[in-house]
Symmetry: C3
Subunit: 256 residues, 3 copies
């Protein structure tokens, strides 16, 4: 473990600064509803997004990217083929990848695909409680949640009123965020893309995932202070991510 948990806010700020210096490329295979907002969120944090889902060229894009996001929010054949090709390319190039199994609790075939992809051991899995349950997770208490992460051999970032991050050993609790985040479509999807961006510049996947959720939640709090509703909140969220700085992050991080 590279840092005691009391230093997590400083580590979050360090990773954000590194992200802005390195400007990593993040390739996203994500659903049509999320694509534009996700791309703008990635640009705002300092990453460079690409989004093609063409199976013919996804390998080239992933090979030149620094991290990959696979989001299952759309389940068409083309995205499935692209996802498998992209994961293979990421593994070959030893690039980190994140799986976001959106809505697998609502569709059995989608849940089956998610299980297949979890078996390929993503560096991080970002989901909510219903989606974790659909993967056979428990999350009834923190010990069970930690065992889920150990069993799946990945870092799980479980988001909700509070966020929890475990790699099977360590556990972080993130209390940042705002209820308006649930009123903007693709907010969770964009958060998973931010996890991928953080993984691109921080090899400790538990730390990267925790830091991403802290930074995203802090931006959500700043945006909520300025917003009059979910429309202006989405706009302010992009501005807040773009404006995040060391002082704000350390002052507002609520992570243990």
């Amino acid at each position: 473990m590279r840092s005691p948990q009391s230093e997590l806010p400083q580590v979050v700020a360090d990773i954000v600064e590194r992200l802005r210096q390195r400007r990593p490329r993040v390739h996203c295979i994500t659903n049509a509803v999320a694509q534009t907002f996700t791309a703008n969120v990635l640009l705002a944090v300092g990453a460079v997004p690409s989004m093609t889902i063409s199976p013919r060229e996804v390998g080239a894009f992933v090979g030149r990217a620094d991290a990959l996001l696979i989001n299952l929010g759309m389940f068409d054949d083309e995205r499935q083929k692209a996802s498998l090709a992209a994961i293979a390319a990421a593994k070959k190039a030893r690039k980190p990848w994140v799986l976001d199994p959106v809505y697998i609790d609502r569709s059995a075939p989608r849940a089956a695909l998610a299980r297949r992809l979890v078996a390929k051991k993503p560096n991080a899995l970002r989901l909510n409680e219903q989606e974790l349950n659909a993967l056979g997770g428990k999350a009834s208490d923190l010990a069970a949640f930690t065992r889920d992460a150990a069993r799946m051999h990945t870092v799980i970032g479980l988001t909700g009123e509070r966020d929890f991050v475990s790699d099977g050993t360590r556990l972080a609790t993130v209390a940042n965020g705002d209820p308006l985040m649930a009123k903007v479509t693709a907010m969770g999807c964009a958060g998973s893309a931010v996890v991928a961006a953080f993984l691109a510049v921080e090899s400790d996947a538990w730390l990267a995932t925790t830091a991403a959720l802290v930074a995203f939640g802090v931006a959500g709090e700043i945006a909520a202070e300025r917003a009059r509703g979910p429309g202006s909140f989405a706009v302010e969220m992009i501005d807040a991510l773009h404006g995040l700085n060391r002082v704000t992050l350390i002052g507002k991080a609520r992570v243990t």
Copy 2:
């Protein structure tokens, strides 16, 4: 008829309150341009959107949804297959559905599909005058428009400078709205999704459609007061829909 037309503003406010309590799920098969804005509009009024177009899982989503929107703004094979599967699932589960035959006046094959779907008797049809003409509608005067609704066995919500809603017997005229609504892409598509959300909590389709167009138009007026152009108008529209309340709705509704 459940209420005299003079009570319509109160009924609109009642339906909006019911929508927020029940938080109905609305499944949308809609075009790529409209997806994100439509999802955010549905979240803002209090509904929960889903958007998959995969023929394999659309049945599961519609089965668990409370209403369905079919928007013809894209005419690819996958969306056509998904639309037919979704309508079948909605009919089987007795869930209301709305058809929005976008741009059928510009494409003969799309108009042919629209006629085929109208024959399946959507609970409501939301369109503009050119699109109604492409379906053989007249709309030259209110009597002809009412006959169109009777002939098609559906509620027609005809939007334009003024909106008209008929079920073949009753007729409502809605004078709410703002010209900026025509300067934001997918505004009409999002309005049709709001009709679907209202149908989910109000079984009288004429009342639901009228109420949806009133609420959407009132939000447009509030947004226009705050906007400096179509960019900020789209943002303010989401905020205004989210902030709609009984007093505002009743004070601003112009429906007869």
Copy 3:
């Protein structure tokens, strides 16, 4: 040449006014990330967008449009087929078309398609330096850039910190714009759509392309004055395009 370069600001203002009077239809085959923003940008400048990529109906849409945009930001089979059909329809109807070869520097098959489409002689080609290089362009100096345009038999609009426009003979340099434009996804794609809209009302493609880049850049400067980050910048950009007027354009144009 219709006007000396010292009169370019006035000519830009003339074209913008003509655009608002004629409200040309612009059909766009563009990537999923760009579709909504592009449609809203076109509406804001006074054009009427359509976006279908269905090969079956794209001919009908292009036939009734006044200009066409082909954006290679997604490389799926359906968009490729649609692009070829759309270009054929545009040529048949003698409508101007613009090619935006997004990210061809990152994908060899996409670059090959771009070369094939350049050979079909678009009225304008809008790209950045990496993309021009991937087409065999030099752009090492202005003379080499002018030769690129002559060799490709098209107008090239090369955007970057400064924009350059050449038709193989004439050369314009545009110094308008703001760095925030690079922090919003699909900003370049939307700029290419504006080029198409200007081509619809100005037959001199070099003038139309130059004017479009000036107007877009001026709007970017106005938006940057009002924005707090890339989220609000995107919103302000739409408002600024919508609010462009003769006085502002002539006062702020920096074109030689």
